[in-house]
């Protein structure tokens, strides 16, 4: 299962490094599959519920969502992430740094409590961080969606590796929420593309409080 964790980490690295959106989507899809498989390794006893969970997970995260996003991608006609706030090389370096940080954190945590699978936990943290990183540094709304998905995966992985498992009911609910969230984002991508005919999230700044009218100030300073 450590191999899975490693793979997860590598996908994140590639995500950070890749400029082509299609590749990124594929990566995320692949992550979905890995994530679906992960529970089987974490929990020793595999019930029907677990399998069910796994199937839905894979189904949603690695088939449905990627398909939707790809569609949105082609709709918008953008192929690659152009000049992110932090370049790809730098991003990979940052990724390495984040990996180190996650490692450090897990190291500290181990002092307070025994952790079933520290390696996965590291991967989880790393995915979490790199998701945040993508959200912050990438211009395209699509990439942000991906970033969010990675973030969620990270949280999920962390949850798994902390061994904090709730009943299937809750797990399913969480999964559903995430799915619908991403789905909505996908839908909105279409709308964004239609309204703005671009999907550059950083060009959304019509709503801000930079503009101030000086009208009232007279009354105030009277």
């Amino acid at each position: 299962m450590n191999s899975i964790a490693t793979l997860l980490a590598i996908t994140c690295m590639l995500l950070l490094g890749s400029s082509r959106l299609l590749v990124s989507i594929r990566m995320v899809a692949f992550q979905g599959i890995l994530l679906g498989l992960l529970p089987l390794f974490v929990t020793d006893h595999i019930g029907v519920a677990a399998v069910l969970l796994m199937l839905t997970n894979i189904g949603l995260k690695s088939i449905l969502l990627p398909w939707l996003l790809t569609k949105a991608l082609f709709e918008s006609g953008t192929r690659r992430e152009i000049e992110p706030f932090i370049g790809f090389g730098a991003s990979i370096l940052a990724g390495v740094l984040l990996l180190a940080v996650s490692g450090y954190i897990v190291n500290r945590l181990q002092t307070t409590a025994q952790i079933s699978s520290p390696f996965t936990l590291i991967a989880g943290f790393f995915m979490f961080f790199s998701g945040l990183f993508l959200l912050i540094t990438r211009r395209k709304a699509l990439t942000q969606t991906l970033g969010f998905l990675v973030l969620e995966n990270g949280v999920f992985t962390t949850g798994l590796s902390l061994g904090s498992e709730f009943s299937v009911f809750v797990e399913l609910g969480i999964l559903l929420d995430v799915f619908v969230g991403i789905f909505l984002m996908g839908i909105m991508l279409f709308h964004i593309d239609r309204e703005f005919d671009h999907i550059d999230a950083d060009r959304f700044n019509e709503l801000s409080d930079l503009a101030v009218d000086v009208g009232d100030s007279e009354e105030a300073s009277e």
């Binding site: 307070t112 969010f148 949850g159 929420d177 995430v178 709308h191 019509e206 009218d213």
Partner: protein, 492 residues
């Protein structure tokens, strides 16, 4: 018990149904009917007519009661209001929207999402299991995003996108927090509920609990609109249709607040962590107050101003809870008062927007002359929201100052009053400019925004706020005090 489930299931079903209803009229009536059925049932629940319930999944303690009542009541108000609101096609500001008519189905989406929204909020309020609560709160985000995007224009889309992303990220953090909490809870803990955790507070791992609390604070804090994570709030509240803004500000923020309270409930039970949590809450409360003060001063857009005032009041809530003691009860009372007043203000802003077709404060003059009822309510709402006696907001704010001084933290009290003053001056300037004065050069007919159904909810809410300021009914007193005790505070 079944009533409780019904509260959640019913809106979901009707919501999905209303997607497929072709008749506009029927759909809206359904909305109102559902709203009132929901209100009726929740009253039954809260008065205990439907029996006490404290399951490990769904339950209703004093906190839940309080917030469920708020949600249900506000929803009923907004539902009534939206009946007419959906009829109007207010031509909105900005060229992007000129001559835009909403596609017919958007109303269906609106109605459906409203009901799903209600369901989600009810879930988040009534779920005792923290994971379940997380699901509920995330669901509220999902259900409300289409509502914010109701107007189908650039601005609303941008607002919706920001809302979606930021809140999702926040919520993800909260989920992280849930996992950490689960980690903190050792195997002794049978049920993953605040009470269950508090029972075994001795066994909780303090380190993990603290980390969990931080994640909850940042996560649910984002959703609740605590500065500096509040940035989505003004956009969403100002772009959403008014009944939705009312719900967002009046009910949704409270749901997120409740999420925070639940973890605080756990922390309060653990000696070392309680002070830690309180400190953080106080800090964030003060930051929110300061930020809102900065942005309310010279704010050109009145809906944004109201949004920032929501940030301010969330700050007050956090501060009150952080101060502990009877301030917790005061904060809860304040939550009620704020919901009533703020929702009515947002509804009124809808009326104004419908008449003046502008969100700019400077475009609006002489409300009292053009639309007497709304204008008067608008001013009354101003005095209520700034905590002027005898409105209930004053009672809570005053009680909070008292507690602050009881714990000899003069700096907190003085800063608190200073920021309130800042907010007051900012809002006063705006509200005076809007309400008083001549009609203004643009000729408008106020009757457009003055229909009975659009004035009724604000009237009711503001009257309630006034009444609560003068007299606190026993069931509310008991609910608030009970909730306060749950959170380790003293009764009012």
């Amino acid at each position: 018990m079944n009533t409780a489930y019904a509260l959640i299931i019913l809106p979901v079903i009707t919501g999905i149904i209303s997607l497929f209803i072709s008749s506009e009229r029927l759909r809206r009536n359904l909305l109102v009917v559902v709203a009132f059925v929901h209100l009726f049932m929740s009253i039954m629940l809260c008065t205990g007519a439907a029996g006490e319930l404290n399951g490990s999944w769904i339950g209703l303690d004093h906190l839940g009661r309080l917030f469920l009542m708020i949600v249900s009541l506000l929803f009923a108000g907004s539902a009534i209001y939206s009946m007419e609101y959906l009829d109007k096609h207010p031509h909105f500001d900005g060229p992007a929207i000129a001559g835009l008519r909403m596609p017919g189905n958007s109303n269906a989406v609106f109605v459906a999402c409203m009901q799903l929204f209600l369901a989600a909020m009810s879930l988040s309020v009534m779920s005792t299991h923290l994971g379940l609560q997380w699901i509920g709160i995330e669901a509220t985000t999902l259900a409300s995003t289409p509502l914010i995007y109701y107007h189908r224009n650039k601005r609303s889309l941008e607002a919706a996108w920001k809302y979606m992303i930021l809140c999702s990220v926040g919520i993800a953090l909260a989920l992280m927090g849930v996992f950490f909490l689960a980690m903190a809870a050792s195997s002794h803990v049978q049920q993953f509920t605040p009470v269950g955790l508090a029972l075994f507070s001795g066994y909780l791992k303090i380190e993990w609990l603290k980390v969990a609390f931080i994640f909850f604070l940042v996560g649910y804090g984002t959703k609740m609109g605590l500065a500096p994570m509040h940035t989505w709030l003004p956009d969403a509240h100002s772009e959403a249709p008014s009944p939705v803004s009312a719900m967002l500000s009046g009910a949704l923020l409270n749901c997120a607040f409740l999420g925070l309270l639940r973890i605080y409930q756990v922390c309060a039970a653990v000696p070392g962590v309680a002070s830690f949590a309180s400190e953080l809450l106080i800090i964030f409360g003060l930051i929110s107050l300061a930020i809102s003060g900065v942005f309310i001063l010279r704010q050109p857009d009145y809906k944004r101003m109201l949004a920032y005032s929501s940030v301010e009041h969330m700050g007050i809530l956090a501060l009150g809870v952080g101060l502990g003691g009877s301030a917790i009860a005061a904060a809860l009372l304040h939550a009620v008062g704020h919901s009533l007043v703020k929702s009515s203000l947002f509804l009124l802003s809808g009326n104004i927007l419908a008449v003046y077709a502008s969100k700019k404060i400077e475009d609006i003059k002489g409300l009292l002359k053009t639309m007497p009822v709304s204008g008067a309510l608008w001013l009354a709402g101003f005095f209520a929201i700034t905590g002027t006696p005898p409105f209930t907001t004053f009672t809570s704010e005053f009680a909070i100052v008292r507690v602050a001084l009881q714990s000899h933290s003069w700096t907190i009290a003085i800063l608190y009053l200073l920021f309130l003053l800042l907010v007051f001056i900012g809002m006063l300037t705006a509200f005076m400019h809007m309400s008083l004065g001549k009609k203004g050069e643009v000729e408008v007919d106020g009757s457009a925004g003055e229909s009975f159904w659009q004035v009724l909810p604000p009237v009711v809410f503001l009257t309630a706020a006034l009444f609560l300021g003068l007299y606190l009914p026993d069931f509310m007193r008991s609910a608030i005090n009970g909730a306060a005790v749950l959170l380790g505070g003293k009764p009012l």
